[in-house]
Amino acid sequence: MNDRQTSRIRRRINFDLVFGLLLLSVSLFSALFASLIAPLGSDAMNLADRLKPPGVDGHLFGTDAIGRDILARIPHGGQISLTVGFVSVAVSLVVGVGIGLLAGFYRGVLDVVLMRIADVQLSFPFILLAITVIAVIGPGLWKLIFVMALTQWVQYARMVRGQVLSLREQDAVQATRALGASDARIVLRHMLPNLIGPVIVLATLNVANNILLESGLTFLGLGIDPLIPSWGGMLADGRNYMQTAWWVATFPGLAITVTVLGFNLLGDWLRDRLDPLDQGRGHES
């Protein structure tokens, strides 16, 4: 590695990235090792220790209304939030990218239908539809993920389709075709690597967004089952004790903010690096 390469790498690493990764690793590790941090589990309660303020009796973040340790519940809630964030984005990304590639490459009916769906989505206040749908099929972890995937794959499909439309006219792609490459090879080997950058940015920001959405819906009682520890549910709980116990609502919210901020910082950093518009040079290999 010569000096120029080192300095280029150093230039890419900035405060935003370091801070974002730091926040993310805190929340990821605490969720992964939830059972180590809270060996008694998230639901161990002690009715004698109800609504204890932070720091009392070894409850660093205090306890809630039925004596459950808030510090123990937060990592477990994190598992739920991160699951929702990752799974919903993964599903919509795979579906969206697949359909976007097909629609952009082959055009035809699929393309027309896709663009109509995208129009509808742009003209509708989406959370209202999500609330309505969840009110109908009922709350629950997998239903929530289903609704998110159902409503978000279009974003990826639109983005990929647009990129494919411009890529397919490029000389490099035309040349590959002239060399006799199959459709699958052109799409997967030559187009996908060239358009995946913005998709990854969108996905990162959507993980953040979906964690927020999950907590919001759960807070309204339209998301995760209240018996399962989740950040939104803990906040809804804490709302009832605002007058007497500020800590019940404060710490889960901080946990959400830390996690979402981490993803947002990472997404922003990725956008600065990967967005071809900002950069003017490709990112092959």
Binding site: S123, F124, V136, L212, S215, L220, M242, A249, G253
Partner: protein
């Protein structure tokens, strides 16, 4: 629009028998009573018939009657519109008052500590759940300092906290959009020309840069307006603010189809209307654009 109402109407109808929901908690009525009530509310008819009625009613401003208390839906909505409008207008005001100066000071000195601070704060603003900000405001100003009424609608001071919550969240997005748009404009040649002919910084910024940066920023704000509606719903709920959002949420829990349908239709209409208004505003912002 048509698709939206159809989707909502269809989804709402799947959600279970409204007549049973009406009696939640009360002693179960007998079968003949149930039938009679279904007939009276018109929910015994096929879905398409009900939908056609709703759609034609929407065109004439007749949204049907609430299942709960028989009040006309249009009346219920009219009662709640001022609440939502006041909230939306005051939060928009807060956000413009904050985001324009912040975005300018950040874009002018790109990379400076002001810029870094503004960017970090706007990113943090995007990262909290809006209802958590709402709860924290209640905790500090309602419960702790007792300066403001924690929720409900008592007097003019009640609007301060919900509007601040929404305003701050909006500011976070707007600052980012406006900053990006300003940076783009500031790097163009006509700004260099304006500067080189000796115009004061103030004129360059406000007259040349801000106007041109407003167009992309305003477009994005229009696109995000749907998300704002979602924020309104949650914030209204947290502050027990009488508005369209709480109306819709209550209608969901009570399976009050006509109210839910009507509210969602009106909100969707508002989103479409706002985007249309934004299209027209281009002409005002930039006289070169001919709207007609």
């Amino acid at each position: 629009m048509l698709v939206v109402t159809l989707l909502v109407a269809f989804a709402v109808r799947l959600s279970g028998d409204p007549v049973v929901a009406l009696f939640q908690g009360a002693s179960a009525p007998n079968k003949t009573d149930l039938e009679r009530i279904r007939k009276a509310l018109g929910v015994d008819r096929p879905f398409l018939v009900q939908y056609t009625e709703f759609a034609t009613g929407l065109l004439t401003g007749n949204l049907g009657h609430s299942f709960r208390n028989g009040q006309p839906v249009s009346e219920l909505i009219r009662e709640k519109i001022p609440g939502t409008l006041v909230l939306a207008a005051s939060s928009l005001f807060i956000s413009i008052a904050l985001s324009v100066p912040l975005a300018i000071s950040s874009a002018v000195r790109k990379g400076s500590w002001v810029d870094r601070l503004v960017r970090l704060f706007s990113l943090i603003g995007l990262s909290f759940p809006n209802f958590w900000l709402a709860l924290m405001l209640i905790l500090i100003f309602g419960v702790g300092l007792r300066w403001l009424p924690p929720s409900g609608f008592e007097d003019w001071r009640s609007v301060i906290m919900p509007a601040t919550t929404l305003g701050l969240i909006l500011t976070a997005t707007n600052v980012r959009l406006l900053r990006a748009a300003l940076l783009e404009v500031l790097s163009t040649q006509y700004i260099t020309v304006a500067r080189s002919k000796g115009l004061p910084q103030r004129v360059v910024l406000y007259k040349h840069a801000l106007r041109n940066a407003a167009i992309p920023a305003v477009t994005f704000i229009g696109l995000q307006f749907g998300g704002l509606i979602g924020g309104v719903v949650i914030v209204e709920q947290v502050f027990a603010w009488p508005g369209l959002g709480s109306l819709a949420l209550n209608a969901i829990s009570q399976r009050d189809y006509p109210v839910l349908q009507g509210t969602v239709a009106v909100l969707a209409l508002v989103v479409v209307a706002v985007n249309l208004l934004i299209d027209f505003s281009y002409g005002l912002i930039d006289p070169r654009i001919n709207v007609s």
